[in-house]
């Protein structure tokens, strides 16, 4: 994507005629709560209840609306909303029911199928309603509470932040793409320590929404799972004030990363690499890293344990060495390639992918992806990274299995420091072009 395309502005609206009309009738609102959904009728009721209660409890003087942007079966989602009609949950939660109920819209978004387009529809509605602030909530959340609304909205409304990222308490092996790639790359390249740069629950200002809508990325992979890291990166690079809010545990459908590597990996990592090209002028100038403000109240929560099959990950890496060596030889610096061969010879008891080697490999892949070197396609490059990513997870799990969550967190932060120290390696590769 060229930089002129990137800033050209988006085309067709993601809101259909009916939704546009309903929003026009509403006219003005102060807060929008968006819930991107894809066939989550079974869990979305809980999220809507929390959103309604949060608005009533913490923002009773503000006009809020809830917009569900559905990509799948809209009738089932509408039925889930209709099932909430008695509003009994206000009484159960000791929250005064507002004099007029919060408007809840359900719309089927238009455009490329994916989370990004669902979010685009919500942003367009927020812009039309000229809201002061908004937040986005994942539709499959099971650990959400009304307090999340306060924590995601208040920093924007009361303290002028442009973007509020979530800070969850997660099991040490949950969120491996975040821990191994998204968090350290955001830390090292863009110099901002944002713990959950691809968290699906976040708050935003009208200004950020307008800035994001003005980018022409909505028909690309970014409009799928890449949307979260894209928003965080844009917010950092375009100097929006960012903070984090502690939301407690995130309980969702977690998976063993070795058994279920969804399209999410390709889309998130591809977006991270694409953004490195788009924002190279920014990150090449950034020195060091800065912390990010944090709000909320920390409570000790024990996230659901997640088991990872380390032997399976090592086996996939070892198989991948033979399969992907031809691509690795094109993408990686020769010494990194040789070291990977040595790592593949280690048995599971002694298996370790040194952190420095992982970082250099990832930086080599980022460079190859951004420059599409040697005629390799973006898809081929990301696929060839997967076995090394498996090796990294296996190595991390083996090293941290006896650590508690605080110690594991410290280990993840140490990795980020290593990413920052090795940034000159990437700069040298980038500048050698």
């Amino acid at each position: 994507m060229s930089s002129s395309d990137y800033s050209a502005g988006s085309g067709m609206s993601a809101l259909d005629e009916e939704a546009s009309q309903r929003i026009a009738q509403t006219g003005k609102a102060d807060i929008i709560i968006g819930i991107p959904s894809y066939n989550n009728a079974d869990s979305i009721g809980q999220v809507i209840k929390a959103a309604e209660l949060g608005l009533a409890k913490y923002f009773p003087r503000f006009k809020g609306i809830i917009l569900i942007s559905e990509g799948g079966d809209i009738e089932r989602t509408r039925a889930a909303v209709d099932a909430l009609h008695d509003k009994q949950y206000f009484e159960n939660a000791f929250v005064s029911r507002p004099s007029s109920d919060t408007e809840i819209f359900v719309t089927k978004y238009r455009g490329a199928s994916g989370k990004g387009t669902a979010i685009k529809a919500i942003f367009e509605a927020g812009r039309s309603l000229n809201v002061k602030a908004g937040c986005m909530l994942d539709s499959d959340l099971r650990s959400i509470s009304p307090e999340w609304i306060e924590l995601l909205i208040s920093p924007v409304l009361l303290k002028d932040f442009g973007f509020v990222t979530p800070y969850y308490s997660r099991h040490k092996y949950d969120g491996t793409i975040t821990n191994m790639i998204a968090y350290p790359v955001t830390w090292a390249l863009y110099g901002r320590r944002v713990r959950q740069p691809i968290g699906g629950d976040f708050g935003f200002s009208l200004q950020l929404m307008e800035s994001l809508l003005a980018k022409d990325v909505w028909g690309t992979d970014i409009a799928r799972f890449g949307i979260d890291i894209w928003m965080t990166t844009v917010a950092i690079c375009e100097k929006f004030k960012i903070c984090q809010s502690f939301l407690g545990a995130k309980i969702h459908d977690d998976k063993d990363p070795g058994k279920d590597l969804s399209p999410m990996f390709t889309q998130v990592v591809g977006t991270i690499f694409s953004l490195m090209d788009i924002y190279s002028d920014t990150w090449l100038r950034v020195k060091g890293s800065r912390p990010t403000a944090i709000f909320g109240f920390e409570s000790e929560v024990a996230p659901k344990p997640l088991n990872v099959d380390v032997d399976n990950l090592i086996s996939k890496f070892q198989t991948g060495v033979e399969t992907y060596m031809p691509v690795w030889r094109q993408v990686l610096e020769p010494e990194n390639c040789d070291k990977l061969r040595e790592v593949a010879r280690l048995d599971s008891l002694h298996f370790e992918l040194p952190i420095e080697l992982w970082i250099k490999c990832l930086y080599d892949f980022a460079f190859a992806y951004a420059k599409l070197m040697d005629g390799l396609s973006a898809k081929e490059i990301i696929e060839a990274l997967v076995p090394i990513y498996y090796a990294k997870i296996a190595s991390f799990v083996s090293k941290t299995q006896n650590l508690d969550s605080h110690q594991a967190e410290e280990a993840i932060n140490q990795q980020c420091v290593a990413f920052e120290k090795l940034k000159p390696y990437l700069i040298n590769r980038w500048s050698s072009e």
Partner: protein, 120 residues
């Protein structure tokens, strides 16, 4: 122009010791004995960096840090505490670094140099 550092610590001797050490490093050093004074001096003195104790009478350092981050979004803050236990408090994340106090200030001075060189 000399970089200015605000040292926030309720212990008189620590304030003086840090002032001496950091002045020798070529910094202009100003002192605050509690959180309220620190917040006031940040506005008045416009320091380039703050070293912040945690355990202080009245408002503790982590609360001061939260207030700093609301108004002075980009002001570097190094927590300088006798206790390592607060490192795992999530509020401490908003600091640039966390240094456990000792008789040797090399680590603190190194972190200060690193942060201020990134700001240049």
């Amino acid at each position: 122009m000399k970089k200015k550092i605000l040292v926030v610590d309720d212990e008189y001797n620590i304030r003086l010791l840090l002032k001496e050490e950091l002045t020798d490093e070529g910094y202009d050093v100003v002192l605050a004995e509690n959180g309220a004074a620190a917040l006031r001096m940040i506005q008045e003195e416009k320091p380039d960096l703050v070293t912040l104790d945690i355990k202080m009478p009245g408002e503790d350092g982590l609360s001061v840090l939260r207030k700093i981050r609301e108004t002075e979004y980009d002001l570097p803050v190094i927590i300088c505490s006798a206790y390592s236990v607060y490192k795992s408090d999530f509020s401490a994340i908003a600091a640039d670094h966390y240094v456990v106090k000792s008789s040797n200030f090399d680590d603190l001075k190194k972190k200060i140099r690193e942060i201020l060189s990134c700001k240049e």
